[in-house]
Symmetry: C2
Subunit: 311 residues, 2 copies
């Protein structure tokens, strides 16, 4: 059956989980999402290409980059990554989603550094004011999540599409189903036997597991308006720049606390929560975990190089 | 005598020695020069601020940045470094020397990333066509070195100024020289005793060691025109992107080979040579050392994190 297996991966690898600047061995924001072997980069702080080297991410396979906002700690790795692709003679197009302004920045940087890319970039400007579907292919779709930060910012909700039905192995033998017909049956079609009899799909297959979802919410002040958008999300990444004892600082800088991230996770019925984007003032982030878990037990603290399964 | 001691440091720390993109554990070009505790950054590839963290460089003490050319592997660390300074609430001005185009790039990046710096930057545009003195203070002076590369490029020659004379410790006791007069004597003045007698400076001091110099030559094709400019330099950093077996590729991409770097060092009577800017195709750079040393024995292969004394 191996030839029909489709990767069912849906996993997130953290490349950087610090805020603002590199400190305490942590790096600025970047994550790689793998949805059934479609590789997606989310934010791209300085040194993202190094982190990919370190963690064995095949960066050449990334076709889409989603940028939440234009603060440097979320984008300053882009010029290096984009020109390294060119040095590797990439030809496949790259699509970059971001709020307005990124294209101008990248174009001026490339022009003044004398860089001519070997592949096309398609810039797609997001509207951080509303939630809308901005992308879909056969495997997944993406919605924006309006966030409240000091500059125009949106998160992203990645939703897997309905997966193929699971064929029951014994039925292949029983009805001598030819290989060529299996993809159609996995899509839900009935089986027509040579003698004219039709076997209904329900007899041959089992329902696929339900589609999975991941929401990326960084950077943002505590904002309950996002709850209906991400309701029921399987994995939520929500920023937690400060501990709750610094709530005033969080409000002032339009960031969130670990407790607030947990509150959003709980109110949106999330399956799991990852918190990150820690302020450089915290060398040890264990208290973040304790604070968030006091409210939402299924919390993880983002760890660079670690891969989290979306289940 | 400790209160009169002046740091006599003249040393170079390599932060990155790879070309083009990070590979084989090496990083793009960046170096820190310490001339009598004046800290100078030369080129600033992506991740330079991380390398400074790694190697304990006090980046806040850097007042001058010298950029050779605008290829990404020499400048893509600037946006992150400049905004991190601001996050550290730097107020001291920063002066950046570079060929034309850098200011536009940095200003567009800062504008679009919503960054307002806490300190002023003074951009000084170099002319890569001629060698001229572009900077001097009490401690050192800097000259441009025209290089031949695919975009306008210049190296930099850093020359220490004449150092203070060395006072002979026994003379302080013999003539009961007050502390307040020592700086003037170190500058070459005679000593006037209370009884009216004048002791000539030559009796009190020894000549200082000769001024030292460092030349940074990257990126460039083999170019003998630089030899008279750097003649007699104590430490020469010259790029060596390829081994000589790839001479044609070096010529085509306007880079140099290890052998050519050694030839420039030998013909310019350099004291020592450091080669770097290695192509990512080479995992092991030992052959670079062997090739260069076959022609110029006092060659070092650049090693990230290592500090080289200028003597």
């Amino acid at each position: 059956m191996k030839s029909f297996s489709i990767s069912m991966k849906f996993e997130l690898t953290i490349l950087g989980c610090n805020s603002a600047k590199p400190a305490n061995g942590r790096h600025p924001t970047a994550q790689v999402l793998n949805i059934q072997e479609e590789l997606i980069l989310i934010d791209c702080g300085e040194g993202t290409q190094n982190r990919m080297n370190d963690f064995g991410i095949k960066r050449g396979r990334i076709k889409y980059i989603f940028i939440s906002h234009l603060h440097g700690d979320h984008i300053f790795g882009l010029p290096g990554l984009l020109t390294s692709y060119s040095l590797n003679t990439r030809t496949e197009p790259l699509t970059i989603f971001a709020p307005s302004g990124l294209q101008e920045m990248i174009e001026v940087v490339l022009k003044n550094s004398g860089s001519i890319l070997s592949y096309p970039i398609y810039f797609k400007v997001t509207n951080p004011e509303i939630s809308s579907k901005i992308f879909e292919n056969e495997v997944f779709e993406v919605y924006t999540i309006p966030l409240q930060h000091r500059v125009p910012t949106n998160g992203y909700l990645f939703r897997e599409k309905e997966r193929p039905r699971n064929i029951i192995p014994e039925k292949i033998q029983e009805y001598e189903i030819p290989f060529s017909q299996i993809p159609a049956i996995k899509k839900g079609e009935d089986l027509k036997l040579p003698d004219g009899i039709t076997i209904p799909n329900e007899e041959l297959t089992l329902s696929p597991p339900p589609p999975r979802s991941f929401a990326f919410c960084s950077d943002t002040v505590y904002n309950e308006a996002i709850i209906p958008i991400i309701d029921g999300v399987d994995l939520l990444y929500h920023e937690a720049t400060f501990l709750h004892e610094r709530l005033q600082r969080a409000i002032q800088t339009k960031h969130s606390t670990a407790l607030q991230a947990a509150q959003i996770a709980q109110k949106s019925n999330a399956g799991q929560l990852i918190i990150g984007h820690f302020s450089s003032r915290y060398r040890d982030v264990t208290p973040f975990l304790e604070e968030a878990q006091s409210f939402f037990e299924k919390t993880h603290v983002a760890e660079e190089g670690k891969t989290y399964q979306v289940i």
